[in-house]
Symmetry: C2
C-alpha cells in the first residue's frame, strides 16, 4: 500500500518563530527524537539521497519522514514505497518554506514513541527555508554539482545555517565546470564549521560516510539531552 | 571597466502589487520598452544563457540587464564584461523575489530613451518569484536538465505564469533520466500555451530559436502598443 497521509499546513499566526522552534526542539529532545531539516534547490536529488540513506540506516534507528511540497504527494509515496518507513506529506499551500509551527503540525501526526529520527524534507528553495528555524536538531542541505560551486557566494544564509553540506551528483562532475576544493572554500567562507560530504545518490558513492555522520549526530544529541 | 551599479532595493510598503505592476507595464509600453522577466532555480544557467542570447541580438535591439541577487554582484559584472550591454545589480536584501515596486526601483536607474529591451534576471527560486507580477511584458523561466522533467508537477504556479520555458543543459541529457517529451507534457498540463525551447547555453544549441522568439515577441508587443 502506497497511500500516505497528506496534511494541509496552515500558516502560523504568530511571528514568534524562534520561541516556537526552541519549544519544539526541547520537546523533541525530552522524547529522545532527533529532527533533521534537509534543504536544497529543486532537483538537487533530496528524495533519491534520502532513499539511499534510509535504506542504509533503518535497521539501526527508527525513522519517519515528513515531505514538504507545494501540492503534490509524489515524494512521500516514493519514500514509503522504496524504504517502508512511515512517510507523511506536508502541503504548504503554495508557501515557500516551513516554520516551527508548521513543522509541529507534521510532528503531531507522528507517533513519537515509535521514532528516533525524523527527517524533514523542506521545500525546494535556497532562500526562504534558511530564514526559518524549524525546531530541528541539525540543518543539512544538498548542493548538486550541476548547480555550480559558486552557490555559497550567492545564497549565503543557507550555507551559514547548515551543519552539513552534501555535495550530490559527483558522478557527473566530469561534464560540469565544478571544482570540489573551490566549492569547499566557498562553503567554509560562509561557515567554517560546516561538514562537507560529497556523494552520488545515483551510484551510492559517499552514502556510507553520510550514514556515519547522521548516526553519530543522533547519538551525540541523545547524550546531550 | 567592469564596475556595475548596485542598488539596494527596499521592500514595497504597499500590498497593491497588481496595480503597481499594471502601471509599470503601461508606462514601459508607452515608452516602447519591452520587459522580460526571467526566472529559474539556482544554478540553471540563467547568466550563461543571457550572455549567449544578448550577444546574438544586441545588434538588432538596444538591451539593458537588471540582475537581482541577494547580496553579490557577480552576475552583473559577468554580463557587462561578456556582452558590453548596460547591466545593473539589484540587491534584494535577503528577499526571495522581486515585486513591481522593486522592479521599478531598478527601471528608474536606466535611461529608457536608450533601451528597447530590459531583461530582468529574477532571484533563483521556483516558488516566490512566480507569485509576484513584476510588471513585465512576458515571463520566461529556465528549467535545466539535471533538475528533472517532473518539476512542472512540483512547482505548478511557476510553469502556469510563464509564456516561455527554456530547457537548458540539453548537452548533458545522456547522463540524466530526463525525457524531453515527458517534460513538455508536464509543462503543457500546467500551461497549454507555453512555448518550450530546448537549448544548451554551453554549446550554443537552440540559441538561434530563442533569439527569434524574443525578437518576435518584442516586435509583437510594440505593434500592440
Amino acid at each position: 500500500m502506497n497511500e500516505v497521509k497528506v496534511i494541509e499546513i496552515k500558516k502560523s499566526v504568530f511571528a514568534e518563530n524562534e520561541k516556537d522552534a526552541d519549544a519544539l526542539r526541547q520537546e523533541l529532545k525530552s522524547k529522545g527524537v532527533f529532527l533533521l531539516n534537509l534543504m536544497s534547490s529543486p532537483g538537487s536529488g533530496k528524495t533519491t539521497t534520502l532513499i539511499q540513506l534510509i535504506n542504509k540506516i533503518k535497521d539501526k534507528v527508527r525513522i519517519a519522514v515528513m515531505e514538504a511540497d507545494i501540492d503534490s504527494d509524489v515524494d512521500a509515496v516514493k519514500i514509503k514505497k522504496a524504504t517502508g518507513v512511515p512517510s507523511i506529506q506536508l502541503h504548504t499551500g503554495g508557501m515557500c518554506h516551513l516554520d516551527a509551527e508548521m513543522t509541529r503540525q507534521g510532528i503531531d501526526n507522528l507517533d513519537l514513541n515509535e521514532v528516533d529520527l525524523v527527517i524533514l524534507e523542506n521545500v525546494g528553495n535556497l532562500v526562504c527555508p534558511a530564514e526559518f528555524d524549524t525546531g530541528s536538531c541539525r540543518n543539512a542541505m544538498i548542493l548538486s554539482v550541476p548547480e555550480g560551486d559558486d552557490k555559497p557566494l550567492k545564497y549565503p544564509l543557507m550555507f551559514t545555517v547548515c551543519d552539513l553540506v552534501i555535495v550530490n551528483k559527483t558522478d557527473v562532475m566530469p561534464y560540469f565546470d565544478f571544482d570540489l576544493e573551490r566549492c569547499k572554500t566557498n562553503i567554509h567562507q560562509r561557515n567554517p564549521k560546516a561538514e562537507v560530504i560529497p556523494i552520488s545518490a545515483k551510484t551510492g558513492d559517499g552514502i556510507d560516510r553520510l550514514a556515519t555522520w547522521l548516526l553519530q549526530e543522533v547519538n551525540v544529541d541523545k547524550l546531550r539531552c
